[in-house]
Symmetry: C2
Subunit: 349 residues, 2 copies
Amino acid sequence: MPARRAQLVGTGLIGGSIGLALRAGGWHVTGTDLDAASAARARELGAIDEVGDDPAAELTFVATPVGTVADIARGRPGVVTDVGSVKASIVAAVGDPAFVGGHPMAGSEQEGVEGSRADLFRGAVWVLTPVAGTDPSAHALVRSVVSSFGAEVVELVPERHDALVAVVSHVPHLTAASLMRLASERSEEHAALLRLAAGGFRDMTRIAAGHPGIWPDICIENREAILDVLDLLVGELTTMRDRIDRADRDGLLDTLSHARAARLNLPGRLAATDELAEIRVPVPDRTGVLAEITTLASELGVNIHDLEIAHSSEGAAGVLLLIVDAALVERFLDGLAARDYRASARGLE
Amino acid sequence: MPARRAQLVGTGLIGGSIGLALRAGGWHVTGTDLDAASAARARELGAIDEVGDDPAAELTFVATPVGTVADIARGRPGVVTDVGSVKASIVAAVGDPAFVGGHPMAGSEQEGVEGSRADLFRGAVWVLTPVAGTDPSAHALVRSVVSSFGAEVVELVPERHDALVAVVSHVPHLTAASLMRLASERSEEHAALLRLAAGGFRDMTRIAAGHPGIWPDICIENREAILDVLDLLVGELTTMRDRIDRADRDGLLDTLSHARAARLNLPGRLAATDELAEIRVPVPDRTGVLAEITTLASELGVNIHDLEIAHSSEGAAGVLLLIVDAALVERFLDGLAARDYRASARGLE
C-alpha cells in the first residue's frame, strides 16, 4: 500500500514539527518554504521527504504567517488546513468547504526549523474551526491526523477562537509592551532604578521581549476582537482608577479579591488541581542547590509538574516554587527538612 | 560593653527577618505585634530577645502595614525607620528629623514570621528616603545598620520612590488583576477554554493571585503616583488601539520594537548581562529530567543564575530556560548533547 501523501507550505518550527509528526505516522511529505534554505534544512532534518509541490497530496498544512495563509490556501486541491493564530478572517477569505481552520497552541518558545520536534504537539490543545459550509469528511480527516500527533482537539467557532486568543494572548502581549514602554520612559531619568523592578514586573513584561515581526499582522487580522478586549481592559483600569481616586477601599478589595479567585481557579495545564500542591523553598543562589532539590525529588519519586524561581528581591536569593503531587507533599517536605531547607506547602485551590 | 538596643514593631516576615539580622549582628531586640501570638512566635524563633517595648532603644523598625506606619512612628524616642512600600505620605505624616523612610525590596514571596530569615536582605535593594529635614546622624545610623544586613542601599526622594514603585509594582499588579477579571468574565461562557491560556498569560496574571488585603492601603497611600501611571498606561493602550484600528503596521511594529528593546535592556538582577547566556532545552515532562539537567550543570561547575520552565503549550512538555555564565556555555551544551538534549544558546544582549 502506497504511503498517504501530505504537502507542507512553510517549514518553520510548526511546519517542521508537523512534517516530523506526519512522517513518524508513515506519511510521505513534500514541502516548500519561501526561504529555500529552510526547506532544504527541513529535508536534512527529516521533516520532509522532498522539497517541492505535490499536486496529489491528500492533505495540505499551510504553516506560514497569518497574513499570507488565505492566499496560499485558496483553491488548493485536496483537504487544506492551517496553523494561524487568527481564524475568522482566514476562514472567511478562503471560503472553501475543503478548508478547515486550525491553531495548535504550541511551540512559540523556539523559532525556526531547527527547533522542530515530532512530539511538539503531544498533549497540546489544537483548535479546529469548522463552519457550517465545511465538508464533514475534510473536518474528520484533519481531526484524525492532528489527534494522531497526540494533540487534544478543541472545536470552536472562528469568532469565538479569536475572541479567546485576544483575551489570553493578543491583548496581554500589547499590555506587556505598554507597561514596558512606560517603565522605560521613566528609566531615561534614572536607568539604574529599574533594578527596583522585582519578579512580578519581570514576569509581566517577559513576553514583550519576543520578536515583534509577527504582531502587526496578527493585530490587523484579529482587529475586531482585539479592539473589543482593549476597550474592556481600559474600562477595567478606569474603574480601578475611580475607586482609587475615591479612596474606595471596599470596592478595591472586592475587585482584587475577584481577580485573585479567578487566578486561583484558572484551569491548570494540569487536569486535577486538587491532586497537586505548591511547595515553596527559600534558596540561596549557589551552584548545586537546584540539583540537590530536584535530585531529592527524583529520589523520592516526586514528579515536579512545574517549577519557577521567584525572585522576591533584586538580590541573589529567591524562593523556589515547585508544583508536585499533593499525595507526596509530606514525604518531600520531610526530605527537604532533613537537608535544612525550610520549605512550606499549600494546596492549589 | 552592653549590646546596642533595637525595637521592632511588627513581627511578620520582614520584621522577623530584621530581628534575626539585628541579633546576628549582636543587637538586643525587643518586639511587639498587634497579634500577640506572632510576637511570641518571633521570640521562639529567635527573631527577638523579648516581647514588649524598649524605651531605651537606639533604633526602632516599624514593620507594619503602610496605613498604620505614620501613627506608630510619630513621636517615638530614638531613630525610627519603616519598611512600607509607599514613602511620601508616610514621611510627610511623621515629619520627624529622626525618622528615615525605608523600603526593603525583598520578601514578598512568603508570609508571616515563619518565613523569616536572617539573610533575607542579602543582596536586596533597600531604598531609603531621607529628606531635607532629616537628621544626618539618623540617616547614617539607618544606612549602616541596613548595610550590615547585606542590603544595597539606594537613596531616593520619597516622591521619586513612589513614582517608580507605581510603575514597576503597583500598576502592574492592578493591570494583572484587570486582565484576570476580563478573562474570567469570558470564561463564564465556557470555562474549560481558559485552558487555552498559555504561559505568557499565566506569567502576566500570577501576581493577581496574591492576597489582596494589603492593596487598598497601598493604592490609597500612593494614590497620586498610581493615578498618573494608570493614565499613562491607558494612553499607551489607546495609542495601540488607534494604530490597530487604522491598520498602521509600521506604527505597531515601531511601538512593539521599542518595547522589546526596553525589555531586553531591563537592568538585570545580575550585574553583567554580557557575561551571561540563556540556554533553552526542550524537555519532556517526567520525573528526573530537572534533576538530570541541574545535576549536570553542578557537575560541570555551571552555576544556574536563573531558571524557568516555559510552557509553550497546554501540553506537558516545555522548554527549560537557564541563565548561566556565558564562558561555560559550550561546556554545558556539550554535556547536554551527550545526554541527548537538543539545547540552544543565545546571549542576553
